[in-house]
């Protein structure tokens, strides 16, 4: 196959990948979009095999590794519970990163196969491209591993900070650039390995200080990095499909990071520098002395049954308790009683972009009952009951009233405007931001102290 024809096929798969993302503009077109993506991948892989046309030597091994990987991937995809989606996505990012590193290493060791020159005499532009690809890939890999461990609960979700860590990161970043410069001058193997090692270290150090509730930003950021790594390799291999895809994925992750940061009213830099919530541990405790009204499932069921409209506000707590199915059951029950039920999802609810939507979809909640913040926030004023389950900081009115609060300016769901608020929570403990939620002490708030799932089950029973 001629190089030109090959390039055209890669362009076609690039276009199919664009269509795959385009399909996600609505749930109806999304499934077809995914098929476009699969088709694009099949074309890219097939033409690569045909272009090499060397089916004798390594072919069988290539096929074996491909099939083993495919089997494992398919197995994971079918077995993984929806609640584990954030750590799965983080895990997948780490694989893309590591694959980029490995391809860069292969290209460095055997540049002839990629038409990049000969060992020890690789084109300077290729060296720069492959070391950027390898460095970004290595950062993505080790960073995603940390994100995975934190999301999985193997590693504590609280931020780990130490003095001077930003300077160390800066120093590591600069040394990578300096080493790339020296690599171009010396073509030395050992410098290439150092670049990869330092990048692994930098990835670890970058993610360690970032805490659990900032994970939506981290995951999107790593998503973006995996794209830039792929693009770097794409330039090395002079492969259009890889360049197009890398650019798409890179900008997609960057946009998601931006949306997540906006959802928290935090700058990207402050998230990356990490350590949120640790400095604000000394909150005035006298607030806790205020009276709190607490109720039981019976009260909650009574309130909701007699309401004409209920808005359910899910958060990470619902995911942890796996309460999404019983929440839907409760909603069905209410709907039978003529109550209008809708769901309000905050952009940063949960641990990754769209986390709540996936869980609600899994529980068979129709997607047209689930609303984004800007589309539902005005409805709270005309709503009888807001049912907050597992969310906390995203409902805290202090974000609008107290300029000293660390979450000041964060766009919140205006649950306090509804006639009454039911707040399912284990205790009065503050949320991730480490601040007290003023909502707990409002007259129209009824606290339901229990596990999210158990409480909702009780409410369903009481609804009869």
């Amino acid at each position: 196959m001629s190089a030109n024809l090959l390039a055209i096929f890669y362009l076609i798969s690039g276009i199919l990948f664009v269509l795959a993302l385009r399909g996600l503009s609505s749930p109806e077109t999304s499934r077809r979009g995914n098929l476009f993506g699969i088709l694009g991948m099949i074309i890219a892989i097939t033409v690569t095999f045909l272009s090499i046309g060397n089916f004798s030597t390594g072919f069988i091994y290539v096929l074996i590794f491909l099939l083993v990987g495919a089997t494992i991937g398919a197995f994971i995809a079918y077995k993984i519970p929806m609640t584990a989606m954030p750590e799965l996505v983080a895990g997948f990012h780490s694989l893309v990163g590591l694959a980029a590193v490995f391809v860069a290493i292969s290209a460095f060791l055997n540049p002839l196969a990629f038409n990049l020159g000969s060992p020890g005499d690789i084109k300077v532009s290729s060296l720069i491209e492959m070391s950027i690809g390898a460095a970004v890939g290595a950062i993505t890999f080790s960073g995603s591993i940390i994100a995975f461990l934190k999301l999985r609960g193997i590693m504590s979700g609280s931020p780990i900070t130490f003095k001077g860590q930003h300077y160390i990161n800066l120093l590591l970043g600069i040394s990578i650039i300096v080493l790339i410069f020296y690599l171009c001058r010396t073509q030395s193997d050992s410098i290439f390995w150092r670049i990869i090692e330092i990048s692994f270290l930098l990835g670890l150090l970058l993610i360690i200080p970032i805490g659990g509730a900032d994970m939506p930003v981290v995951i999107s950021m790593l998503n973006s990095y995996s794209g830039w790594a792929a693009a770097g390799i794409g330039f090395t291999l002079e492969n259009t499909a890889l360049i197009i895809t890398g650019a798409l994925v890179g900008s997609s992750g960057a946009i998601l990071s931006y949306i997540m940061c906006k959802g928290m009213n935090r700058s990207f830099v402050s998230v990356i520098l990490g350590g949120f919530g640790t400095t604000n541990s000394s909150i005035d405790k006298n607030q806790n002395k205020k009276p709190v009204k607490s109720g039981n499932a019976e009260d909650a069921a009574f309130l909701m049954k007699n309401a004409s409209s209920v808005i359910i506000v899910p958060g990470y707590g619902m995911a942890v308790a796996q309460a999404q199915h019983v929440v839907r059951e409760m909603a069905d029950n209410l709907k039978k009683n003529g109550v209008k039920v809708s769901y309000a999802v905050h952009p940063v609810a949960g641990r990754m972009p769209g986390h709540m939507n996936v869980l609600l979809a899994e529980a068979n909640v129709p997607y047209d009952e689930v609303f984004e913040q800007e589309n539902i926030n005005n409805d709270f004023a005309n709503t009888d009951v807001a049912f907050v389950i597992g969310a906390n900081d995203v409902t805290n009115p202090v974000a609008k009233t107290d300029p000293k609060s660390p979450i000041y300016g964060m766009p919140i769901l205006d649950v306090e405007k509804s006639k009454s608020v039911l707040f399912v929570k284990r205790s009065l403990s503050p949320g991730y931001a480490g601040i007290d939620n003023e909502l707990f002490y409002r007259d129209n708030t009824l606290m339901l102290f229990a596990d999210a799932k158990k409480m909702t089950e009780e409410i369903v029973k009481n609804l009869g």
């Binding site: 091994y61 590794f65 893309v96 792929a230 769209g354 899994e362 047209d368």
Partner: protein
Amino acid sequence: MEIDPFIFRLSIFVLSIFIGYYVVWSVTPSLHTPLMSVTNAISSVIIVGAIIAGLSGNIESIFNTSNIFGFLAIFLAAINIFGGFLVTQRMLQMYKKKKKNK
């Protein structure tokens, strides 16, 4: 004066960032998780580089270091491709509309 092919690739890259920018803003927020899993799957198109690396050996040395890294990259990327697309498909199947007769 001839234009370096690198500039053409750079043009493709920059234009693709713009395409990505506009396409991703049109993605509905409720599908942000599938967006991440599908971008994951498509970025594994890096497998084409891995295949080239894996097949680059000759009969005497199929297992030199370069090939082995190629094989490993194929393995990792294949997990991602199949896992990514299938889990996306599985998620997207769950997004259903309200039944009309209700």
